[in-house]
């Protein structure tokens, strides 16, 4: 299976998650514990009606999905995963109208737990919009 096939299959897996699908998330990269997922700006995701800035909860959903995908792509081949804990730091407001892209890295896996960190960027180059760290349960290897 080529990397492109893997990405396509994993991408179908992400869009089979109804909530990720509802938020328009698209898997852009996936390899050995690293995942990149994009989410388009949408008026329905706005959390601050005055500024049009996306709600932190939508960014959390993107981070959670991206971290989970990073765990699943780890070379140790986890059979499944679920979030134990996820901490998000909101560094700045995401620019209204811009796509948000999260990049997660699963940097350590034990028999039962995976450790992940992630950052999210909008289309403005520079500092990330948010950072996240999480721990995930690892369920039986494939």
């Amino acid at each position: 299976m080529t990397d492109k096939d893997k990405l396509r299959i994993a991408g179908q897996f992400i869009s089979a998650l109804p909530f990720s699908e509802a938020l328009g998330m698209v898997l852009e990269e996936l390899s050995d514990g690293i995942a990149v997922i994009g989410m388009p700006y949408d008026a329905k995701l706005v959390g601050d009606p005055r500024s049009g800035v996306i709600h932190g909860g939508a960014v959390s959903a993107l981070m959670d999905t991206c971290c989970g995908a990073a765990v699943m792509s780890h070379p140790s081949n986890p059979g499944g995963t679920a979030t134990i804990d996820l901490r998000i730091e909101y560094l700045r407001a995401a620019a209204p109208g811009q796509r948000i892209t999260a990049r997660a890295e699963c940097y350590h896996v034990t028999r039962s737990v995976a450790f992940v960190r992630a950052t999210a960027q909008d289309e403005t180059n520079g500092s990330p919009v948010a950072t996240a760290t999480g721990s995930f349960v690892v369920e039986g290897q494939r």
């Binding site: 089979a16 998650l17 109804p18 909530f19 990720s20 509802a22 938020l23 008026a43 329905k44 995701l45 706005v46 959390g47 601050d48 009606p49 005055r50 996306i54 709600h55 932190g56 909860g57 939508a58 959390s60 959903a61 993107l62 981070m63 959670d64 999905t65 989970g68 679920a82 979030t83 134990i84 804990d85 996820l86 901490r87 998000i88 730091e89 909101y90 407001a93």
Partner: protein
């Protein structure tokens, strides 16, 4: 006995408080998208997330998406915090419900950080949440929030977060 002001009519009070809560919650598109509702008992709020298929994260076991749980907890925290300040302004007469349109809506607190503890998977049924404000300073607030489904004592998630409070204009 003179000098004692007659208490307001209960219907007038309810109309003002419920109207303000509806305006606050109704102004946020993401809350409408998730379908979150708020119930009020005096100044205490309970958030309700009616189950819907689009909220699923794991189609095999129909569990709520972790992002839905995080969003529900964060929305509950922000609305509870904002409601606390709004309540004071409402009761003192500083804010009038009829004038709570897009321009005059109170500014919402901004999340600094938020840590979610996923205790068990969210089942395909309605969820409830309540937030407690543990510190409410002029600059920032610290909030703890709990969510449950069938059984109040069996939380499926809890979170702690810090929020930057909107600066008052006066």
């Amino acid at each position: 006995m003179s000098g004692r002001v007659k208490p307001e009519d209960v219907q007038v009070i309810k109309k003002r408080r419920d109207g303000a809560l509806r305006a606050l919650v109704g102004a946020v598109p993401y809350i409408q998208f998730l379908g979150i509702e708020f119930e009020r008992r005096g100044d205490e709020l309970t958030a309700i997330l009616p189950f819907s298929n689009k909220l699923i994260g794991n189609p095999i076991i129909s569990a709520l998406h972790g992002g839905v749980t995080a969003s529900f907890l964060e929305v509950t925290s922000i609305i509870t915090l904002s409601w606390g300040t709004l309540w004071e302004d409402l009761e003192s007469g500083a804010i009038e419900v009829d004038k709570m349109d897009g321009e005059h809506m109170p500014r919402l607190p901004k999340t600094i950080d938020f840590t979610v503890d996923y205790l068990r998977s969210g089942l395909p049924r309605d969820a409830y949440a309540r937030a407690t404000i543990n510190r409410s300073g002029r600059r920032y607030a610290s909030v703890h929030v709990e969510a449950w489904q069938d059984n109040r004592a069996k939380l499926f998630a809890q979170a702690t977060g810090h929020f930057l409070m909107p600066q008052r204009r006066d």
